[in-house]
Subunit: 316 residues, 4 copies
């Protein structure tokens, strides 16, 4: 390899400075000149911005993890309101917690280990723990109350059709993910819907209910198939990641843009931690795709990405 | 606190020795006297053994991760054959790969980075990568061929009923998880079944198919409810973990034994990495439950646990 | 526990919004109302701010990891210039790379896996890799040239005295950590100094050199002993973390403030991933200390913390 | 790429079975046919065996982490007794804890969170915590007593010479690492020696002591230089890893064999988690080196490796 080529491959690391006029846009631009996770976060911001600006790009968003309980509900809502998401794939848990907040209940913050209030005591206090976030058990009663009164017209809808139906019936809460998706006609897919408290309460109160999961699966392949270009943002991995990627795998298309924010790693071989390069071998993303994996807690990375997208898009 | 109490709480760490007569049973006993993950693995072995010996205990086994591709299919099969598992909850991916091996196809081992065969090249070679394991794409054609010929009598079965039906029809391969479960009448639950290549091919060839996921969900709660005592083994987290735990949460029961083998950690707040103590706050496991979380790649821990169980149970 | 008490322990999670007037200060305030790593990062910002505002607080800063190569040299420099650090403890590697940049050389950014330029090829190109950052081997020749010309007056200085001597002799580069520490009389401790390329080249060219590591060790205990109050910021763990903490352990003092930014976790039992609670049992931090551990890549967290400190401190 | 070549690159994954006659040797052979960490552990066993059988190979062993406290002292001792280690590089902490056990004190095992005995209470009980292992503070008094009585003949020894001196003076405890190294003339390098409780107590009682760290550094380079072939085993990373690797970097040699057992990962860019491929770019290991990184808690992997080496070497 000639020196000339070497020079094209490598660029100087940017020993950047935080200045008085640093804002989120130039901070991200500065971080792009560094390495490790900082650079990858900057690339993720830039790629997401391109996905938004590329009018041919259908933006798939996979959301796992306890993002609603921890306080990221409004951010997710605003991703949808700003039209940064075209298709949302998420877990039943996020929907359960979204309904809880939408109905006016709240998650609580505390410490992981509370003196004289260990997990056995928390159970007696009917206080469920999610790391350092808490949910009083009685919130489930409120969800149950809401769910039990639903008049479900068709017991054989797809899950996404049911979630639309649900989104139209929840209170018009300005943070609600279900509501904004229904309002803006953004489909929500939830392949493991029965793996949630929401589905359990539906099942207890609507014994005939049988949502057609296969309709969702095939519809999702069609959406992937029909996309002129596809862009993917994965938060946390899990079923949402695989569901988006399998749709790309089983259609002639493959993603042109892909970012993922996760704390999972490739070595244990699970799909959640798999690299985006690996996804190329399956035809899930194409070989020229712009992509970036950021090893970061999503609670730190997601607000930064949203902030960057919002600020860098101002005045468009 | 008195010195007397301190002495009851703490025991000497065992600076153990590997001797000529070390076998898996006394190695595990020795590791129990240490700390960190070694002790936790030893506790997991011991707790699983108690679950087996406790005739009242119903053993729930949650299996995520790419355990079949990596070479753990026979181990899982043998867990079932040895009756160490009463109820299996797993991912569509594990079932897809189980069918592949059961039909006579093979996963391949290689390197993560193969010189002059990067992921884009692998795609051209129709070779799908799972970290350092590979699956030729044509295997999906073999699965498709098998799936397309199925005569499905009832388009509204539960997923577990369908998986029983499937297990009765796959070849009688001595490694097959689907087959041994059908033979031994061990139910397989797969809440995110449509999140798999197997389900996609079923959907493509059986357009009327609509497995009733809600039946599974309610049946699983009933199984948890009816268990005199419940023991849980979680490999890798994901939907299988949550599905087992939500069934415990939504019934008066809670688990008396619980072990989990995972590389996920609690700090990002996801359910996969959540501690078993946290599960107590939800009433998923009870406050006196024996439990152990082992932070380890399951490909190392699972063979050790099985080996220990088999050897320590000899002559019962 | 009474409802009243429960209410004092738990607060509502803040489903915060990124608004047009969001700046780094109110973003951090918003994140403080959430959970998981976002809350912990916010707490770390707040605690560091208190450390700065508390005039009795001596601020110990432990810096491991490849922070200079990746582009964080200027940020570290500015921490010192802004007087956010009173005592720096770091690795020989960070000092080696600091000298490289200070002498006018540059680290380079690239990809982890470069097509047709694998690690064996990089070796032939004399290009050393640090994840996705690169250092041409010839930079070591430049360092060697600088080092060989040093006239070292005393072969029995402490390491910190030698680093002061060195900082006075490096070029007056506005990013240089060694230089700003010398200028501002901030001591640099480097307990594993001989574990570095810089020390190797010193040793090759100054065969009589024998820096007195025991002087540093005792001086560090004296600094901890004399501090009215102690605040600790740990980036990445390693020897710098232990060196600061052992000084607290072996003096009557203990830290009143402590934050750590790391990707290491407690389960493997190493000191790098140990919790700050654990440090209490040793008397390294006191039981009422304000503390926060952030599981995050420091390349993301450190610029945010610095940005927050600078902005929130404006106009003081 | 032709089918023929593909076949040479990939081999069938081994869906192995635990049988009645499974022993550690054939288990490892079976795991070699799998993937993920199981295969890597098997490769590590095999490579270490080759290092032992290759009479030209000098075996460097880097030991970080709290391996003595957790109960791995005897295993390390036996690695040395069996002559599996030629040069040991370790942390001051491991030596401090080795002396504690060698003097007859014990580490204790317990729970991470002990009811009504949190870390603040542990401090009052003078009980230091290392994850789930504990060390009564009074043990330091015992070490102090031993250290204070030492007659150190030369205040300018290298650290390794001092550790030899020390090993000759500790009680003849059959688990002692210091003692067996002295007896078998295995040098111990400890580049960050002053970062330890042992060094602090030496410093307090022997104010003139000034171990010559530069002598160690240069001697280590000479050992690397003189090795016909070099084999490296890294447990946990840290300074021991870098110290071994820098000696390879700064001599014409490079390692022919390398294994590392760690929970650290490459993404944060630190040396502890760096891949062995990365080490090739620096000339630390050569491009044809046999190498394997195992992402595993060393408390699980190390006993397995030792057991395999001992059993597979029987009858040699």
């Amino acid at each position: 390899m000639k020196d000339k080529n070497i020079k094209e491959i490598f660029k100087k690391v940017n020993q950047f400075q935080i200045k008085n006029d640093t804002d989120i846009v130039n901070l991200i631009e500065d971080l792009k000149g560094t390495g490790f996770s900082a650079k990858r976060l900057a690339l993720a911001c830039e790629i997401y911005k391109e996905m938004i600006e590329d009018k041919d790009c259908v933006k798939f968003f996979g959301l796992a993890g306890a993002m609603v309980p921890v306080g990221m509900q409004q951010i997710i809502h605003d991703f949808i309101e700003e039209e940064y998401i075209d298709i949302l794939v998420t877990t039943g848990a996020n929907l359960t917690h979204d309904i809880a907040e939408t109905l006016g209940y709240h998650h609580l913050q505390g410490e992981v280990h509370i003196e004289s209030l260990d997990d056995a005591n928390l159970y007696e206090q009917e206080m469920n723990r999610i790391y350092d976030v808490f949910l009083p058990n009685k919130v489930y009663e409120g969800i149950e109350d809401f769910v039990s009164k639903l008049k479900i017209p068709d017991n054989n809808m797809s899950v996404s059709a049911f979630l639309k139906f649900l989104g139209e019936r929840v209170p018009d809460n300005p943070k609600s993910i279900l509501r904004i998706c229904a309002d803006k006609n953004i489909p929500i897919f939830c392949p493991a819907f029965t793996d949630s408290g929401l589905a359990l309460q539906l099942g207890f109160h609507h014994q005939q209910l049988n949502l057609n999961h296969f309709k969702d699966m095939l519809e999702m392949v069609n959406l992937a198939w029909d996309a002129k270009k596809a862009g993917i943002c994965i938060i946390g991995g899990g079923v949402p990641k695989n569901f988006i990627f399998q749709s790309m795998q089983f259609c002639p298309n493959s993603a042109d843009y892909a970012i993922q924010i996760t704390m999972d790693r490739p070595e244990p071989g699970g799909l959640s931690g798999a690299t985006l390069n690996e996804a190329m071998s399956w035809g899930k993303i194409n070989k020229n795709a712009k992509h970036s994996t950021v090893i970061s807690d999503a609670t730190i990375a997601l607000p930064i990405i949203f902030w960057y997208l919002k600020k860098s898009g101002e005045g468009r």
